[in-house]
Symmetry: C2
Subunit: 343 residues, 2 copies
């Protein structure tokens, strides 16, 4: 009999998720029925959208139920199979969530080929975060050669891909991250034209100097004070793909005044801006195939690089997730739930 | 010698434009040179965008200089001509501004045919306001049959056209206006499916009841409390063409808190909304020809009706303009500067 260690949602957090937000449960799995397979989770992807799933505020997706296993994308190895399409040792992309094992009927699984790229990229640069960057930047942002693209959380899996795809398309990429080390990585690892530290007391002036021709595309995934400074520099007909607002996810009350909303609307009007909220899944049908082809090519030829921040053990997931919302991670945040058999 | 009475910008207004914002000047015109023509202004169009021209805050267009003649679209009659392309009696669309006469070299004039439609429509339903409605609704709003379109200032020249074009396209049109009389006109004159009075103490509930399936397109031209209630009802993938914010045009200070901006961004994100600021001139090349064809046809067959609010005499322009910003007009606001020779 297999036991799955599960992280369940114990209560809905007010503000930052605490240790009491989650409960660890040892859950005994049934024997496999015909057609089922047993998955062992190797990597659990931690992503900012999970904060939304913990809340029952209206959103684009239903929240995790109280007592339910926390959701999440995973890379798994097939341990046992009573399904003719899968054999033990197969690596799969699944949505098994925050747990060590899961019984699956095979639906929704995608087989991964470890000989091509590391399997962890299936939840990173070649997975949901990479596709968020690709679809949002190319379909909504539509950067033209010579235009200026700005992105924050730029060492993260979405931001780093945004900057590098912008460069592939001939645009100028300005990356914003927190701290000197990340700032340097934007230049050295990810090839941004300019890198800024949003914690610097001179951030507003640094940004102004970094975009002498203004900003044509702001890929918005953080909100907060960074967004406020960026919006001041938007050009006429600027585009703002909006896929996240990490800086605000733990907010518990309406922000203090003054009310910036009227001024923001005025800015959209006078600059003829286009702000478009999106979730990557909207574009799967229209852009999924192109993404796999383009991004695989860019990763293979070195145009797009990626960085992973791996923490060990499912017990690390809650604190690692808290760090994700405050920018403590450095690259795509993964929990190595069990040993990666492909390494 | 002809004297043009001119309304010049005397000083930039703080808040609502006062009588001291303007100065009336008698300006002696030169004799006509070869190629020139003398225009007598018949109708001056008053439009909300003019408030922006009085201010030197950053905008999409340069402000009127202090001491300059207030800008504005006009319908004129040619009184004298030393230009072979024009003869006295010709009716023209021009941008002569707030004055009684102007010397023109003929550039930028458009000849009007009084036998087809009243010449005043050239600054209304068949002019800039009508084109704002047409281009913004069809290119940005893209209403589908059965969808719900909401517009405020709905008895105005933009709003009334938005609602009627939405109906032509098979959408459900919900109009918002101030007061019982305007509300009734939305139903009786303009064929909105539902009409709401934003001054009603039950406005929020009325709106909720009026859009049981939510709102797919909000054509935004007012801002303020109306916009706040409308945004709460937006559907997933809702579109918001944004061409004006009349309710805020006279604002002098940052609005009091709480700061609604973070919540607004969250709404754009969770509903995958598309907010797009625009000025109609952006679409002249791409949609101007279709507009003339479609709108003329709709006016001719009665699908689109229009209403004019005519005040007499240039001296009425300042107070009429103030009324425009607070919704005192009822229909397209025109100043009849001199007698219309086509009536």
């Amino acid at each position: 009999m297999t036991v799955s260690t599960q992280v369940r949602l114990a209560r809905r957090p007010e503000g930052e998720p605490g240790d009491d937000t989650f409960s660890f449960v040892e859950h005994e799995l049934d024997e496999l029925s015909e057609g089922q397979l047993l998955l062992r989770v190797v990597y659990l992807s931690l992503d900012p959208y999970m904060r939304g799933r913990m809340s029952d505020a209206p959103s684009y997706a239903a929240p995790v139920e109280i007592g339910g296993v926390m959701e999440g994308g995973t890379v798994c190895v097939v341990e046992q199979s009573r399904n003719p399409e899968w054999v033990p040792g197969d690596m799969v992309l699944s949505y098994s969530g925050w747990q060590t094992h899961e019984i699956s009927d095979g639906r929704g699984l995608r087989k991964l080929d470890p000989s091509v790229v590391p399997v962890s990229t299936a939840v990173g640069v070649l997975g949901m975060p990479g596709f968020t960057a690709y679809a949002g930047l190319l379909e909504i942002g539509r950067p033209q050669p010579g235009e200026t693209v700005v992105v924050a959380a730029a060492t993260g899996p979405v931001g780093s891909a945004v900057g590098q795809i912008a460069r592939v398309k001939g645009a100028r990429a300005v990356g914003i991250a927190g701290g000197a080390e990340k700032r340097q990585a934007l230049l050295d690892e990810f090839g941004f034209n300019v890198a800024l530290d949003h914690r610097s007391p001179t951030f507003a002036d640094d940004l102004k100097a970094a975009v002498p021709d203004g900003i044509d595309v702001y890929f918005e995934n953080v909100g907060g004070h960074v967004a406020r400074e960026v919006f001041k520099r938007m050009n006429l007909y600027g585009r703002v793909p909006l896929c996240g607002l990490v800086a605000d996810y733990n907010a518990t009350a309406a922000a203090e005044g003054p009310d910036r909303q009227p001024g923001f609307m005025r800015l959209i009007l006078t600059k003829s801006l286009n702000i478009r909220g999106f979730i990557q899944s909207e574009f799967t049908k229209s852009h999924g195939r192109d993404f796999v082809r383009d991004m695989s090519g860019w990763v293979a030829d070195g145009s797009v690089r990626y960085r992973e921040d791996v923490v060990d053990g499912l017990q690390s997931a809650p604190s690692a997730f808290r760090g994700l919302l405050t920018g403590r991670n450095f690259g795509k945040l993964l929990v190595r739930v069990s040993a990666d058999p492909t390494l």
